[in-house]
Symmetry: C2
Subunit: 581 residues, 2 copies
């Protein structure tokens, strides 16, 4: 039986959403091309992301190179720890993930070392799944694509395994851009790379993929969010740590989840809310979406809390499409250390604080003549003394193994009150990280429907329809002259020109029955079809057909571009687009 | 003296347009980050490109991986020939372009072989420009970044040196997408890579850069363009082959240039026109733009004609930002050969053609019994005979070195008239190729002005203003409460929310005098500043200030989002935005 995945991939290939890369040369696993419709759909879902994160939240986008230098990935830990255990068949030289080969034999194979995996493979006599050959020793294979910058191998370069690092590396510049005020955030949408050992899950596991990431730098002492009240009532499907232990998810409001400590704090709760809004706006079915908390042993040691948005797929089950983490100060600390740079932020207090400080002033007039060249060292040692060390009759010091005894008048000391106006802190990082390719595949799956439909004389056939939200559908309108006649084509061309001028992606189709042409457009998710008929020549009206309801209205051709823009972008209801036919 | 380039780079760094990449780790030549304003400006000029090429011309965009496999770049010639001559200092191990080191000694050093360059370096005792050390033998260094796909070095991967190749590799899929009809085109905007030996021109010569390319597949027998009439009157600054010999460019219409044979054909002329429209729309000064034809010895051997759009830069002189070439059938032929795939297109004739064909039919009833197993071979040999070989009394053949003599009745032959309905052709490729990074730098340069301005009490100071077209300016509106008072801030926030809802990128600024805030926005090119003052509280109006004229109007706050959108996107004049103040 052909499952839904196969149907969608067939449609995606045939109509130009997704094509295996390098197909002309036999293809290579882990690479996909976005065809004409796929690239447009992808662009639109990226633009909705920008609308939410950049325009509305105010986290400006940056664009850094995809190639990075070694220092960055030493700091991030990718040089040391971004690897999978690999074993190579000694006979056919195929490579395999060792942890995958033993997954039916041991629990949690991903926690085992290379040596442990080798031992299990040998003890259980696991052979090559392809040819039955003997498997070699397991070793850790680094998943970064490596290259060299400039001639020779003087300077290693890596294709970035995530877009996030650029926001950390640019932190000093970003801090200045935001005029030294926390919180602030920066985003990036771009390619990231992971040199998978042998990817076998089509578009779900790519060697080159697109991420949309935000790094939001906040004051660790204040993890509230000013917009929290507005989103607190949104009810999500939570699959918390406790829920996973009990095997059940719960539908509660974000406000309740924060109040009861299921979510660590408001800021993370807010990020879950905008993630939910984003995913459902681009077309993910809310009932196939859940937020799963990382279990304690799964979470990075430095993380305060971490949630994945997971989408239910027919073929793959629940797949992770977004990760939302409170990474604390881990990343900035790591880069501060590697670069030997101060990456703190000076945060002024609302009101200056008064603090008492003990100050020792050496009496140089007395020390100088007596100790000569050694006076400086003695003065410094005196300054470092605590109050209780000055309470005796004499002051005793050891300088360069020499014992020195001083009268009390060698120093003056006092307690002064100082005003402190602020302090330097290392911001914490909240990171919502989106996998655009998986989201796009999920949309195709969630919007794919087959239904019996009778329309315009096409009898009782199955109609395939992609119910994509109009604002992300790649082709936004089809213009169809009822018949291939010059006098019907002319107004059709005029309509196309006015729609294009308004930035609408439009197709022209005059081949086959009108019913066939509707079907062709249903299959790629075109939300509106505009038909020019003989009545158009009489009264200047056209029909607009809505993809989902197959309902039709007659509307004026003179303001057709505004009408279509209102339908797509401004929430106009189809009933208000014209007179029902 | 600080030149314009230094001023612009200083501004670009300070305000967040361009940052040297990996600055935290000392930076690496040939890499730049787009900061928050730069990335937004870049995105907008890419979107204008899409509006022209994708939405209006109908050349759909695709998105292929940045990593490519070796076959592709063998076919494209990059594995064999994409290199620069390199010499390494034996002492300090710095690398240098050998052709650059000898450019004051010989003419056209880029035409010399590695051995010839070595000889010139030795003969002239050219030493390392950095340390004076002896230079090593020159060799050709391939400029593609190389990596490996999957573990080990089984499969080479290269970072693409241009986006173009994906459109050739996807040609069979694209042809089906466009339902087998020529002409059609596909575009791509994305990263491309060139592992420069030692780049020294800042943002003008990057190791990782962004291209926007279109590959338009046309019928080689018809290089007209249906839209040519509409653009024929556009006058461009042409620097033709002849003009370069005479040292002068000429201002003529595209129609005249095609008619007089300066431009090879209409289709190229049309591409020059949309290139001109694109560049001037995003903000390139028309008087600093010219179209330079490649000289015969500079053009690729297969190209029919090639033009560069060049922009005049203060620091760099005329720099190439766009290349527009008729590449004939070179690319498709090369990939057809490398992949052993037919990449022709069947083109039906308007009317079937009648052709006469000579047909030989062997008489198997006679040949079979006589020659048994050999009859088939003999029949094939007979079918291949030409009419004149059948004119004698006998037919003589040699099959497997055996001489065979046949009577004339061994065959029947006749001339038949057949109808041919079309033929298979290899399309020609028209390629407009845009360097987005250079265009973006040029915009900053062309839009940068320093002027004495007196406004709002800021006396007689120099105002820096980026006169970017409103539709590409990164920040589109600034909202400024006249004073930091709760009652002025509240309406300001309302305005911000309504603008954001309409997709407008807006900033809020309440620090410093109003004049200072205008200046801050002028410097980054914000086209409109909206000021909330006490009159706002009385009558619900605000002032809108136009960046370029510094003129102000009062307009209603209730429809401010529509008003600003009309100004930015729909060509509304500022005078119609409100009542002059």
């Amino acid at each position: 039986m052909v499952d839904k995945y196969e149907k969608i991939i067939e449609l995606a290939k045939r109509r130009g959403f997704l094509w295996p890369s390098f197909e002309l040369y036999g293809g290579t696993a882990g690479f996909y091309d976005y065809g004409p419709l796929g690239a447009m759909l992808k662009r639109r879902i990226e633009n909705v992301w920008r609308d939410i994160f950049v325009i509305n939240e105010g986290y400006y986008e940056i664009e850094a190179p995809t190639i990075g230098i070694e220092d960055i990935f030493i700091a991030s830990g990718h040089v040391g720890g971004f690897s999978d255990p690999l074993t190579e068949c000694q006979k056919c030289h195929e490579d395999f993930r060792a942890d995958h080969l033993v997954q039916n034999i041991v629990d949690m194979p991903d926690t085992l070392s290379a040596d442990e995996l080798t031992e299990i493979i040998n003890k259980n006599n696991i052979r090559c799944p392809e040819c039955g050959g003997k498997l070699g020793n397991v070793y850790e294979f680094n998943l970064m694509f490596r290259t060299s910058i400039g001639p020779g191998s003087k300077r290693a370069g890596y294709l970035r395994p995530e877009t996030a690092q650029a926001m950390f590396v640019d932190f000093p510049r970003l801090l200045k851009f935001y005029r030294d005020h926390l919180p602030f955030g920066a985003t990036q949408i771009g390619k990231a790379y992971r040199n998978e050992i042998s990817p076998r899950q089509g578009v779900i596991r790519l060697r080159e993929f697109t991420q949309a990431e935000a790094e939001i730098f906040i004051d660790p002492r204040n993890k509230t969010h000013p917009g929290f009240k507005e989103i607190a009532d949104i009810v999500l499907n939570f699959y918390s740590q406790e829920g996973q232990i009990n095997g059940e998810s719960q539908q509660i409001s974000i406000g309740a989840a924060v109040n009861t400590g299921i979510i660590a704090h408001e800021f993370l709760g807010y990020c879950l809310a905008i993630t939910y809004r984003y995913l459902t706006r681009v077309g993910v079915s809310p009932e196939k979406l859940r937020f799963r908390q990382h279990m304690k042993d799964e979470m990075a040691h430095y993380a305060a809390d971490c949630w994945d948005a997971e989408i239910l797929s027919d073929r793959f089950g629940w797949i992770e499409v977004v990760g939302i983490a409170d990474r604390t100060d881990y990343d900035l600390k790591a880069h501060a250390k590697q670069s030997e740079t101060d990456l703190t932020v000076y945060v002024p207090y609302d009101r200056p604080k008064k603090v008492e400080r003990f100050v020792v002033k050496p009496n140089m007039a007395a020390l100088g003549p007596r100790f000569k060249g050694k006076a400086g060292k003695i003065a410094n040692a005196l300054k470092a003394l605590r109050q209780e060390e000055l309470s005796g009759e004499f002051i005793e010091l050891t300088i360069d193994s020499e014992h020195i005894k001083l009268e009390k008048d060698a120093v003056v000391f006092e307690t002064v009150t100082e005003e402190i106006h602020g302090e330097n802190i290392i911001p914490h990082v909240i990171e919502p990280s989106f996998g655009i390719d998986r989201i796009m595949y999920s949309l195709l799956e969630h919007s794919y429907f087959e239904e019996k439909a009778i329309e315009e004389g096409e009898e009782d056939e199955v109609r395939i329809v992609l119910r994509l939200p109009p604002q992300v559908a790649p082709v936004q309108a089809a213009v169809l002259p009822l018949l291939t006649r010059e006098k019907l084509i002319k107004p059709a061309i005029e309509i196309i020109e006015s729609l294009r001028k308004a930035g609408i992606l439009v197709t022209f189709d005059d081949s086959g029955t009108i019913g066939r042409r509707y079907r062709r457009n249903d299959e790629i998710g075109t939300p509106y079809s505009i038909t020019v008929d003989y009545q158009t020549l009489e009264d200047g009206t056209v029909t607009i057909r809505e993809r989902d309801s197959m309902g039709q209205v007659r509307a004026s051709m003179s303001d057709i571009a505004d009408n279509i823009c209102d339908l797509i972008y401004r929430g106009k209801s189809f009933g208000n687009a014209g007179r029902r036919v």
